[in-house]
Amino acid sequence: MKKVNSIFIVDDDPITVFGIKKMLKPVVVCDDVKIFQNGKEAYDVLKEKKENGGSIPDVIFLDINMPIMDGWDFLEELIKLEIQERIIINMITSSIDPLDYKKWNEFKPRCPHTLNFKNKPIFKIETSDLECMDMAS
């Protein structure tokens, strides 16, 4: 089974958080899964880790519609942090708004990290969702 050091789940819906955690269990071993209610909370922690040399998460599950700081704003700020480590970001949303898909396409080339887009409902997390595709290929 794959071993991952740190995973962030950024979502304000407890059911989705419950689902992601449940789906992670069979595919990955990770002792450090952190839950955040919105982008701001996750950003604050990331920023603190960048400044103080804490461990950067390998994978982030990111919701789009959240209060205070939504998924897109979080991505914007994350790029500005210029973190050297490569993160796999899985955007998870129930939105089928084409605008969101378009936005994801715009972000992809700008974001140094791997950016995946997943529409809810999801039933299974693949190992490939936890690996950097660029590095694997």
Partner: protein, 609 residues
């Protein structure tokens, strides 16, 4: 004796005042008076051996005539000091005492003046005849005494009678068309004959060939010794002119009828933009008569700005000779009345092809313009509503989708779950998802309800009382959070609102102010109401957390938008009250500063029912 006799005879002849000469039988000059010799330019003392034939070379039959021994006269000419002189000579036989013919007596007159006058008269007559033919003017003359009527050739020609025709007054009058023309000429002829009153009248005749013709008949009485002796007049064929005039009048009538009845304002302006023609529609529009408008320019009739624009257009058309076609213009009259026109200005050329003004055609499109505005307004409203609808559809699909996605996921888990404990956990989650879905549906239902209610019944409500009622209901919640309320609303102030909506608006705004209070300060809520023109503005201000408007400004009234990390923040309250306010024709704005507080301003529309 014979010599003396001859001498005395000679001397007598010499002195005769009438130019006289004596010829022998063979035509030789025997003797002549001085005056005779002078006429022929002969010296007084000349020898008399001159033959008459040499003096009258241009008369061929002189010799033959002389042989007849009968009196005769001839007209001949001589050249004297380079002038041609016309002479008339009378020849008579010369008898001696015994009645024997011994020669011829010749008496000669210089008739140059008479001949000249005769020729002049001929010329004048010819000119007169030509003139009357060309101008189709004939003449007539009536002798009162003899009752003889004379018609010139042209007059006869107009009547279509032969030149041999002899007119009389009765026939002449009968040529006039029965009815007005004949009655009129009878009366006029009677008057000129009795009172000498001249006339000049346009009448109709029927010619010999039965053609109807317009003529101009004129007459003048000629007096001699206070008595009318003759009538003289002219007679002119004016049929073609009258027909042409009638045709012109007909065309004019057609044109006038046409332009006066067109539902367009039509005007013609000269180079100075002064009106030289206006139609009825233009008169009606400007509320002035035709006479009042002719000679006026746009500065006399319109607002200064409008007149300036119009004049510039005129100058452009006159300068470039290019017409302005179908241009939308706005015209403002002196009284301020505004009209939208579709205007065309076309250069007007004179017969030499030189521009001498312009023709203007304006169509009043104000009603169309008004309709267009109404339509545009309707499109705007529709498009706003459409946007709202799309937005709402997004909200619905997004929120329902997220719940259904959760259901699917949880059910999938449940299917493959063996452990009882885990199954219970999933079921608990499913129940929660179901509750969430129900709540979402309720919220959506509420929004739909606000937007679909057509007849909102607004009532006059005392604002202060409505606020007090809401505050009373919230008193426990406020007490718990140590809230201070400052209600500055005038106790008398009334507003028009749907009562339930007003309660909802106050409740939501006050609740929000308490919910998003600052942990560092005791919450203070200030409520004010102001009247600005026709609108009442209700302000609810707090000293709470505030919102970063730069970041969230556009989302603050959106559905399911929350900005603070609170468990009871649903993101539905502001969305609902915004819908309620807009349904009543009002609006809501917010001012906020992070960690200072927020002020919500509700604008109630008092006018719309």
């Amino acid at each position: 004796m014979k010599a003396i006799q001859r001498t005395s005879q000679h001397y007598l002849l010499k002195q005769l005042p009438k130019a006289t000469a004596l010829l022998s039988k063979d035509g030789t000059l025997v003797d002549a008076s001085d005056s005779w010799l002078d006429i022929f330019g002969l010296p007084l003392k000349s020898g008399l051996a001159i033959n008459i034939h040499s003096l009258m070379e241009d008369t061929d039959d002189l010799a033959d005539q002389l042989k007849k021994n009968a009196p005769f006269s001839i007209r001949h000419k001589i050249e004297k000091s380079r002038d041609i002189h016309w002479l008339e000579s009378n020849f008579n036989p010369w008898f001696d005492e015994k009645e024997n013919i011994i020669g011829t007596i010749v008496q000669t007159d210089d008739i140059s003046k008479e001949v000249e006058m005769e020729m002049e008269l001929k010329k004048v007559n010819k000119m007169l005849k030509t003139k009357s033919e060309v101008a189709k003017v004939g003449c007539w003359e009536f002798n009162v005494e003899t009752e003889e009527l004379y018609w010139c050739d042209e007059t006869k020609k107009i009547h279509q009678v032969p030149e041999s025709y002899q007119p009389n007054v009765t026939d002449a009058i009968n040529f006039y068309k029965q009815g007005f023309s004949r009655n009129k000429i009878s009366m006029l002829f009677h008057k000129i004959l009795n009172d000498g009153q001249s006339y000049n009248q346009r009448l109709m005749i029927v010619t010999k060939k039965g053609e109807e013709k317009w003529v101009n008949a004129a007459g003048k009485a000629i007096m001699e010794d206070d008595k009318i002796t003759r009538l003289f007049g002219t007679f002119q064929d004016i049929h073609e002119q009258v027909l042409a005039e009638a045709k012109i009048k007909e065309n004019e009538q057609l044109l006038t009828t046409l332009i006066d009845n067109l539902p367009l304002n039509i005007f013609v302006k000269d180079l100075d933009s002064k009106k030289i023609l206006v139609n009825q529609a233009e008169c009606d529009y400007l509320g002035k008569s035709r006479e009042e408008l002719i000679g006026k320019d746009d500065f006399d009739l319109y607002d200064k700005e409008v007149a300036k624009i119009s004049r510039d257009e005129d100058l452009e058309v006159i300068k470039t000779l290019k017409p302005i076609l179908g241009k939308e213009t706005i015209s403002i009259k002196k009284d301020g009345q505004t009209t939208n026109f579709l205007t065309s200005k076309i250069p007007l050329f004179d017969l030499d092809g030189k521009v001498n003004g312009l023709i203007g055609i304006s169509m009043d499109i104000s009603p169309i313009k008004k309709k267009e505005d109404q339509l545009r307004n309707l499109i705007n409203i529709t498009s706003i509503q459409n946007k709202k609808l799309i937005n709402f559809a997004h909200i619905v699909s997004h929120n329902l989708r997220s719940h259904s996605a959760n259901f699917s996921m949880l059910l999938e888990f449940l299917k493959s779950e063996d452990q009882e404990e885990e199954k219970n956990k999933i079921l608990k989650m499913l129940t929660r998802a179901s509750d969430n879905l129900l709540e979402t549906l309720e919220n959506l239902n509420e929004v739909v309800d606000i937007n679909t209610r057509v007849n909102l019944k607004k009532e006059p409500i005392v604002l202060h009382d409505a606020i007090s009622k809401v505050l009373h209901n919230l008193s426990a919640f406020m007490e718990k959070n140590h809230v201070t309320i400052q209600n500055h609303v005038d106790k008398e102030q009334q507003i028009w609102s749907v009562p339930a909506y007003l309660d909802s608006i106050i409740l939501n705004l006050v609740t929000n102010a308490i919910k998003y209070r600052s942990p560092d300060r005791k919450p203070v809520i200030t409520i004010n109401a102001k009247q600005i023109e026709q609108r009442t503005i209700l302000s609810i201000a707090d000293n709470g957390l505030g919102i970063d408007l730069e970041r969230h400004g556009d989302k603050i009234f959106g559905m399911y938008k929350t900005f603070h990390n609170r468990k009871d923040a649903k993101g539905i309250g502001l969305y609902i009250i915004k819908n309620q306010i807009e349904a009543m024709g009002g609006s809501i704005t917010v001012n906020s500063e992070v960690d200072k507080g927020s002020t919500f301003n509700v604008y109630f529309n008092e006018k719309s029912e």
